[in-house]
Assembly symmetry: C2
Homo-oligomer: 427 residues x 2
């Protein structure tokens, strides 16, 4: 991008929104706040990921397995299962560790549910493949993660939006829907630092999800715990384990929890994992085992060694991530507060972790704001992206992803966003 325009305004009065917009235009910018990507300095924290192999050529796992060879099976390396189990309060036997994309593991689980079903011991009906239903439906708390919705759309799964409150999905709506319709087979959740609103599910929401009566005997919760260790401050909000909640409620098979190191080490080259009851894990390990001889064990071994060895361990590593991105979230808050505070034109979230800020304009403005920002070179996540079929009924939600750009770019982008909101409001 060009250097920021530094000339003072020629008039004594504050510049109009149109004047500020014209200045942004003149800057010929290329800024993107569209995706939740770590910045280069964050990746640099993990550059030693591959260092140790060079010296020792040591590819041997704790159990003596040569990670360069095939054997190992579909569960992942024992030390990796142990490491990632801790993150989500599971036992190693309740975890499968896979390759780089947790999204792919979620999609894979859903595909197998469609083709082979997801049995629940002692409950009849779960052995029936979902694809045998007239329609398969999934509840989508909104706003939510667009990639979850893409998975469903490509597999022909009908998405039913349900409101997301500050405590989690609106459980009155959810409970009523799942009790009535056996075609509703699942619900998407990002329980911690929800994408994009950043909220953390309350204990009572967790308990309600775990215990509610469902018409589908094989109902499942897809809990994408993408930000399990991605706190912005040092005293992260507590969150009840959804695995524990389901066990307590007598529905141990109800939930699959997913996570990955995409925003811990390298976004495109990490490892992912899934945690669930041993019954679920063994069922899917068997199916995964028909697809592949096993995941990339070298990558798993390297991740466990690296993340165990960094100063302060995983916690220290994630604090260094937070130190790099916290100032960006602060700039978002400060600029939005200065520009839009008290105007009534927008509300926005103040997350304590995760990768996003969710902003709501007044109804009917978001598409225009995103289009206007694009005119001066700022790419935001497409309006409506956080809703199934890209349809935000109120056309008000804009997802802000501040982590990738530099601090100055984030500041500029937020000024542009604010000016665009004001201009659209004026029209």
């Amino acid at each position: 991008m060009r250097a920021a325009v530094s000339e003072a305004t020629t008039s004594d009065s504050l510049p109009t929104f149109a004047e500020r917009f014209a200045r942004f235009e003149a800057m010929d910018l290329t800024l993107s706040m569209a995706r939740g990507q770590p910045c280069s300095e964050q990746f640099d924290l993990s550059n030693d990921l591959w260092a140790a192999f060079d010296e020792s050529c040591d590819y041997q796992a704790e159990n003596g397995l040569d990670c360069r060879n095939y054997p190992g099976g579909p569960y992942g390396l024992p030390e990796a299962r142990k490491f990632f189990a801790k993150i989500v309060s599971a036992t190693p036997e309740e975890v499968i560790v896979g390759d780089n994309a947790s999204l792919q593991m979620m999609q894979n689980v859903i595909t197998w549910a469609l083709l082979r079903g997801v049995p629940v011991p002692g409950v009849s009906g779960g052995e029936r493949p979902w694809a045998k239903e007239e329609a398969v439906k999934i509840l989508c708390p909104v706003p939510g993660y667009d990639r979850h919705f893409t998975v469903c759309e490509s597999l022909g799964i009908e998405m039913i939006p349900v409101p997301l409150t500050a405590e989690g999905p609106d459980m009155e709506v959810v409970a009523r829907l799942v009790a009535a319709d056996p075609q509703i087979k699942a619900i998407w959740c990002v329980p911690r630092y929800s994408n994009p609103t950043g909220i953390v599910y309350s204990d009572s929401v967790m308990d309600a999800l775990a215990s509610m009566g469902t018409a589908a005997p094989d109902f499942r919760i897809f809990a994408d715990d993408a930000y399990a260790v991605h706190h912005l401050d040092d005293s992260p909000p507590p969150m009840k384990s959804i695995l524990a909640a389901c066990k307590e409620a007598g529905n141990p098979e109800r939930v699959f929890v997913f996570g990955s190191t995409s925003k811990v080490t390298f976004a495109g080259a990490g490892v992912c994992f899934m945690a669930a009851s041993k019954v679920n894990i063994d069922y899917f390990a068997k199916l995964f085992g028909t697809q592949s001889i096993g995941p990339n064990k070298v990558n798993q071994l390297r991740h466990v060694r690296f993340l165990s060895g960094v100063p302060g361990g995983l916690k220290g590593h994630m604090q260094r991530h937070a130190d790099l991105i916290r100032p960006k979230f602060e700039v978002v808050e400060n600029v939005l507060a200065a520009e839009l505070g008290g105007t009534g034109l927008a509300t926005w979230t103040k997350p304590r972790g995760g990768y996003f800020v969710s902003l709501d304009t007044k109804p009917g403005m978001a598409s225009q704001v995103v289009a206007l920002a694009k005119e001066v070179g700022l790419t935001l996540t497409g309006a409506g992206a956080a809703f199934p079929y890209r349809k935000d009924p109120a056309d008000c939600n804009i997802r802000i992803a501040p982590t990738r750009p530099s601090l100055d770019e984030v500041r500029l982008a937020m000024e542009i966003l604010a000016v665009c909101i004001k201009m659209v409001a004026e029209e």
Copy 2:
């Protein structure tokens, strides 16, 4: 394993089979010839795979992409597409490069065919998902690769065995079946150094596969070119490109070719690829793009750099592999010839590449031989494994995988195998 018994026989006469068997028993062996795994010395050839990152921390692809981050898309890195395209005489635009398991990519293509179909431009019917058929059938040249059969079995695809000759599948049988039955949607092929017989498909078989009339409008060839560069001698047999054959025959969409570096670098931690018409590639890239933000680019980058930089490039690297395993194939041939030559008890193949020798006993003996070998600690691939549903109708086929054990172990294992065959024949 214990040291080999070195005492001479106490009698002047040659030991009986039973006496030799008793000696093997006394050795308390643990030998496995069950799976086609490289040996540790082969893996050592690629220990530098990760070396360069340590010094340079350079994760930047040719197009400037930071391979540590998400962007890149479902096609794989441009330099990786270019590199692997050459191996199968395709253009980079005809290639997708993925993660470590080509089997998973094959399974994924079949799963999408079931759920979404595999359209052929200008041909009606291909847009219909395979799962909409009453039954989906696939032709399986036998003996073949057990993992292909497991994929089909887990997805409920009916397998129809067809004979594999020294030139490829028996094309009279294949052509008759595919012309008559629209539920036959595909055929499995390992065109080069077929698993387990080691044969290479002839040009006329390639042309026949490419041009034959099929009742299914969306018929596909799954060509697992697992041993594309895995020659045992310096003048490898030529093989016509199945991609070219299908183009020539006016059926460019008919074939998917798969390959991987599982037996080039690390068996569990390499990269895989798929080559097909640009129409097929773009169709599947779009679907793969819904499953994952993209494959592990760091692993792809590292593979291209390493394999381009080793002495003699990929060819030199594969010659060093061949130098390590050729002697093992020679021992198999020599021991079997010495022990079983002229007895009429067995025939076996003499492959010029790949990872297996296929042995046929007289009918009805294979299961007993494999069980007997197990009694003295030699694990062979389960009898029948090379056939759909693990049913070898003649119970005669035994797959020999000589690459993983040491030369001495291979010799001993072949002696055991020969003795077991003779003992079963005597009974």
